[in-house]
Amino acid sequence: MNDAFDIRGESHIEVHKFRAGAIIIATLLALLIQSSFPIHFAKAAVLDLPLLVTIYFGLSRRNPSTGLLLGMFIGLLQDSLSGPTVPLGLYGIAKTIIGYLASSIGARLDTEHPAARFALTFAFFITHQGLIVITRRMLLAQPEPWFNMHLIVAALVNALVAVFLFLLLDRLRKN
């Protein structure tokens, strides 16, 4: 039943399972913090906790179907909490693809090392923003810059936070 084992052809990479409700609670907590923290710490808006959670569970579960569905679920919730100027599907599409990519890569590589997690999160953050820009430009006809220094800084900050957050989330795994 486990697709991750089927597609990678290398059964030495472990598929991690989590405690009951861990994925749902972590997801909701990430969304709650994302929509509350910047009231008190404006700089915290640079973090994209829902994206980090999508990446983490994608890399850990290593099942592309689960990864993309979780990404879609998180993305649509984030769209709903972003106000009516953000159409439902903007974050949804981006996080669906990130969920799929993360779980596909997680099925092929060992992504437990902090350096690998840092590099992957950095790359996924840039890809995620690129997907949002593509959606905005091509589907919504909204002008959006492709690249700026803020994006690189935000990607670095998110990658750094991811290293510590992922260690914390590792504790939710079943032994």
Binding site: D3, D6, I7, L28, L31, L32, Q34, S35, S36, P38, I39, H40, A42, A45, V46, D48, P50, N63, P64, S65, L68, L69, M72, L76, L77, Q78, S80, L81, S82, G83, P84, T85, V86, P87, L88, G89, L90, Y91, G92, I93, T96, I97, Y100, S104, I132, T135, L139, L140, Q142
Partner: protein, 300 residues
């Protein structure tokens, strides 16, 4: 029938899910519908936690901040310091409450000095869950008489306008959002021009001709032309001015601290109003021709 390999199954699922969401985007644009039901469910589920978090976090943060601010002054011995620390923690909690009381008093004073403008105070309980938009969420909604398109201000200046209302919550689009804006004018030269956001901390004033005199530091106030905000409410100050092709490029520093909003005032009217700038407010004339007739109230 040939069975699809597992990898292809997930690719087909990916394509299906993406197509579904693209269609959803298309429907929202075509029908100008915003998936209200999903938003109502999500906001309804999250806002009680945001509400609880906002008040708890605010008091803890105030106490913590004051604790550190006072800690450097302690030079007594260890035992006295411990006692001192305990007292300081108690003091800082009280200071946090006093600071909150000061903020609320400022809001109350503002309300009393603009008694002719019906407004309601609200607490900020959430912000946009991503960087794609700049919105805040208030702890008051349709039950408190808040409607879409109502203006939101602080005693310092304009904040934005209500873009979505729920039973007990409302979402406000900040001026700094790319879709945010307000009818404004320069306080000294009385030159009119819309002020809008760019997704950055500074705002932009548009359509001011290169020939017009604008100097950095000049105040920008509401013009009342947008039929949302009364005239003469501070919008910001001119941060810098550059000549453009036809119009000047004017950047504005917002008067209200939009990055740290805790309490705001919602203008409970959709009619253009005049603040008390004349001797007799009854003589106040609408800023827009024909504005005396109120536009229809938006109701769902």
């Amino acid at each position: 029938m040939v069975a699809l390999p597992s990898r292809h199954k997930s690719l087909v699922l990916l394509a299906g899910v993406i197509v579904l969401q693209v269609l959803m985007l298309a429907v929202q644009i075509k029908r100008d519908s915003q998936g209200r039901l999903i938003r109502v469910w999500t906001v309804g589920a999250v806002s009680p936690f945001e509400r609880a978090g906002a008040s708890t976090f605010g008091s803890v943060r105030d106490a913590w901040r004051h604790y550190f601010a006072l800690q450097n002054t302690t030079k007594d011995n260890e035992q006295l310091r411990r006692e001192n620390d305990t007292l300081k923690l108690q003091l800082s909690q009280l200071q946090g409450k006093a600071a909150e009381a000061d903020r609320l008093a400022a809001v109350l004073n503002f309300r009393q000095s603009h008694a002719e403008v019906p407004m309601i105070a609200a607490r900020v309980i959430g912000v946009s869950a991503g960087t794609a938009s700049m919105t805040i969420q208030l702890d008051r909604g349709e039950r408190d008489g808040i409607r879409k398109d109502m203006g939101v201000i602080t005693p310092d200046g304009v904040v934005g306008k209500v873009v979505e209302t729920y039973r007990n919550e409302a979402q406000v689009l900040l001026l700094t959002d790319k879709d945010g804006g307000v009818g404004a004018m320069l306080a000294v030269s009385r030159i009119h021009g819309p002020v809008g956001g760019q997704g950055e901390p500074l705002l932009v004033m548009k359509y001011v001709a290169n020939d017009d005199e604008v100097s950095p530091g000049e105040r920008v106030i509401t013009s009342g032309m947008d039929r949302i905000f009364p005239r003469d409410i501070p919008v910001g100050t001119v941060a810098d001015v550059k000549p453009g092709n036809t119009f000047k490029q004017i950047r504005i520093k917002p008067a209200a601290n939009l990055e740290r909003l805790e309490e705001v005032l919602v203008l409970k009217t959709l009619r253009p109003l005049e603040t008390k700038t004349e001797e007799n407010p009854a003589d106040a004339k609408p800023s827009v021709p024909g504005a005396a007739t109120p536009p229809p109230v938006v109701r769902r």
